[in-house]
């Protein structure tokens, strides 16, 4: 099938779903009312609650939800063939992911900008909110493990990216210094930063930095701790600022290239229901696909971002659909482009035949294959040098992953303190030196980074580690959907079931719980036992959450929002 046809089908599906599924839900379930004041106006304080123009809020929300995950997931999932992969992306986007994001955002808007975690405690029980924190913390450890693997694999597979990433950090520190300390003009410093970045990509191709994976893991361990503890203006903020431009160029270049390419997809459409996708083991497409394609189809973190930040910036409820629902569809479109890129060039770049995909002994494609496929597409349309394109695409993915790692450890540190504080309610016990030691900044940061990197270095197969992160993320999404479902049923509809949230919530919970059970049995001996213990804890907690969900559903309306 031609690549352009797939992209056009995706656009048509997304537009139809937005108009004929998203809009009716906004109108009939949430009863969006543009005249109702949003928290950004009602609680305006110029600090937390500030209304923004919808494209600004959309860009802000999209930058928060679009990291490396929508790119990495489809790379691993292609073991099943490109058709099941793309069907899950589209299906997951339309009926689960976008609804999940939209409902979390609107629930937060109706609850004065409170987070989905807080709402879960409000519409179910405070215990659910506490378990939410535990889930976030455990997920953060798996995020460190999965994304450290992404970065280290990239550095080993394409050593020039390691050089480019280090140079990028140096450039970010320099630009930050010039802007914050020397007070030089932001536009000129932006131009300088981008010019230096382009030079760094070209230069890094001449001086690749080749180190073993274990060495990179050790470096990443220290990097994560230091980056999470440095003042943000030194490295993180200027790097994220330049990253925004990288994201725009990456999406624009790739989007135009693969829309205009019109090449043929040579990747096998379907390999087997039990392709060897995760950890080299025969992995049933259902229920394991959400463990692999996480953020491209749906993601639990989107609810956290949407309800934590975006809801406080919404100018009017009328914008909620295009931001909550629309941004998720846009992210799904990014994943679609990844599938198309690998579908067109993956076999050639990886040097394999269609018959070899997903069979016993199969290892995931690796991001390097995606980067080269991306570069070939950009070369075909723009004439960009393939070597430059590879480093550029790899650097973009690497920067997304590094940004995720930076934020992860900061948040994990906080989640750790939150769990311990809520778990130890006694003031006297909190004065205990042991409690103070374990909640201290450096210890909290080291625990999450150390455990994550330990899991990353002992999990030999990347796809197995990635699936553990995906599973945690998807169970978070299930909790958020359950919360939205209870809110919609008990608060918005006076006890009348809300099927557009009930069906996906229940379907997702059953799917992910079944996938956890499969993972724990199939990955024993492949991943570190600690990973299995973490998955086991999450599985037990998820059963408890299901119980709370059913109780809240049966209980019916409690009070109006």
């Amino acid at each position: 099938m031609p690549t352009t046809a797939v992209i056009l089908i995706a656009i048509v599906i997304y537009v139809c779903v937005y108009l004929f599924y998203g809009r009716p839900i906004a109108r009939n379930v949430v009863k969006i009312d543009p005249s109702r004041e949003t928290p950004a106006h009602r609680l305006y304080d110029g600090v937390d609650y500030v209304p923004g123009k919808w494209p600004v809020v959309f860009g802000h929300h999209f930058a928060s939800i679009a990291g490396a995950a929508p790119i990495v997931g489809p790379i691993v999932a292609l073991a099943w063939g490109w058709v099941p992969c793309i069907i899950w992306i589209w299906f997951g986007n339309a009926f689960i992911g976008a609804i999940h994001d939209f409902m979390a955002l609107t629930a937060s808007v109706r609850y004065d900008g409170k987070s989905i975690q807080w709402t879960s405690g409000e519409v179910m029980t405070p215990r659910v909110s506490f378990i939410f924190s535990i889930f976030v913390y455990l997920t953060m450890i798996l995020v460190v493990a999965a994304f450290a693997n992404v970065v280290a694999n990239l550095f080993v597979g394409t050593p020039s990216v390691a050089t480019a990433s280090l140079l990028f950090m140096a450039i970010a520190v320099l630009i930050g210094y010039l802007i914050y300390w020397r007070k030089l003009s932001l536009p000129w410093m932006t131009v300088l930063g981008l010019a230096l970045l382009a030079a760094a990509i070209v230069g890094s191709m001449q001086i690749p930095l080749a180190l073993p994976k274990t060495t990179w893991m050790v470096i990443l361990f220290f990097y994560i701790i230091i980056a999470a503890s440095l003042p943000v203006t030194i490295l993180l903020q200027p790097r994220d600022y330049l990253n925004a431009y990288l994201l725009v160029f990456f999406l624009l270049l790739g989007g135009i290239a693969f829309i205009g390419l019109n090449g043929a997809i040579t990747w096998p459409a379907f390999t087997s229901f039990n392709a060897h996708a995760i950890g080299g083991q025969a992995s049933p497409f259902w229920p394991t696909v959400p463990l692999v394609i996480a953020c491209g189809a749906l993601s639990g973190f989107h609810a956290i971002v949407g309800s934590g930040t975006t809801s406080k910036m919404l100018d009017t409820e009328a914008h909620a659909l295009r931001i909550g629902y629309g941004a998720m569809l846009t992210e799904g479109f990014v994943s679609t482009l990844v599938v198309v890129a690998l579908g067109a060039f993956g076999l050639t770049v990886a040097g394999i035949t269609a018959g070899e995909v997903g069979i016993a002994g199969w290892k995931d494609l690796g991001i390097a294959v995606f980067s080269e496929s991306y570069a070939m597409g950009a070369n075909a349309i723009f004439g960009m040098s393939v070597a430059f394109g590879i480093t550029f695409a790899s650097l973009a993915v690497c920067c997304f992953a590094l940004t995720t790692l930076d934020t992860t450890n900061r948040i994990a540190r906080f989640a750790w303190g939150d769990i311990l504080t809520r778990g130890v309610p006694s003031e006297a016990a909190r004065k205990n030196p042991a409690f103070r030691f374990f909640t201290s900044r450096w210890v909290a940061a080291t625990i999450a980074a150390g455990l994550g990197i330990y899991l990353a270095t002992t999990g030999e197969v990347f796809s197995a580690m990635w699936a553990a992160f995906g599973g945690a993320n998807q169970m978070l999404a299930a909790i958020a959907l359950m919360t939205s479902c209870i809110w919609a049923t008990n608060v918005l509809r006076g006890g009348k079931k809300c099927l557009p949230t009930l069906i996906p919530a229940f379907f997702l919970w059953v799917t992910v719980a079944a996938a956890y059970i499969w993972y724990i049995s199939a990955m024993a001996g492949i991943v570190n036992p600690v990973t299995l213990v973490i998955m086991g804890i999450m599985l037990v907690l998820s059963f408890y959450l299901l119980y709370e969900f059913i109780v809240a559903l049966k209980r019916g309306p409690k009070k109006a929002a």
Binding site: V47, P55, S115, V232, Y241, G308, T407, R410, I411
Partner: protein
Amino acid sequence: MKFQSVWRLLKDFGGGLRSRSTEYIEFELREMENIFPLLLVGSFVGIPSPPSNISIKLMPYVVREMYVMGRRAGDMDDVAGEVFGLFID
């Protein structure tokens, strides 16, 4: 005219992407804003500086800070949600 509105839309979208990078600074700024009113009117809650009479004299000038502090005090049961919202995946 249409070109201008498309350009403005793209510009705003780009601005939104960039604004994501300052979120942590904004978070830290908010934390400092919390400390500021506490320093000014802390004597009411047991922080011994400045004396209450000075705090009362300062009050008309820190209405906004008092409002923000009051509202944030109400959000203390959702601090974790705010911090988790800074995550990027």
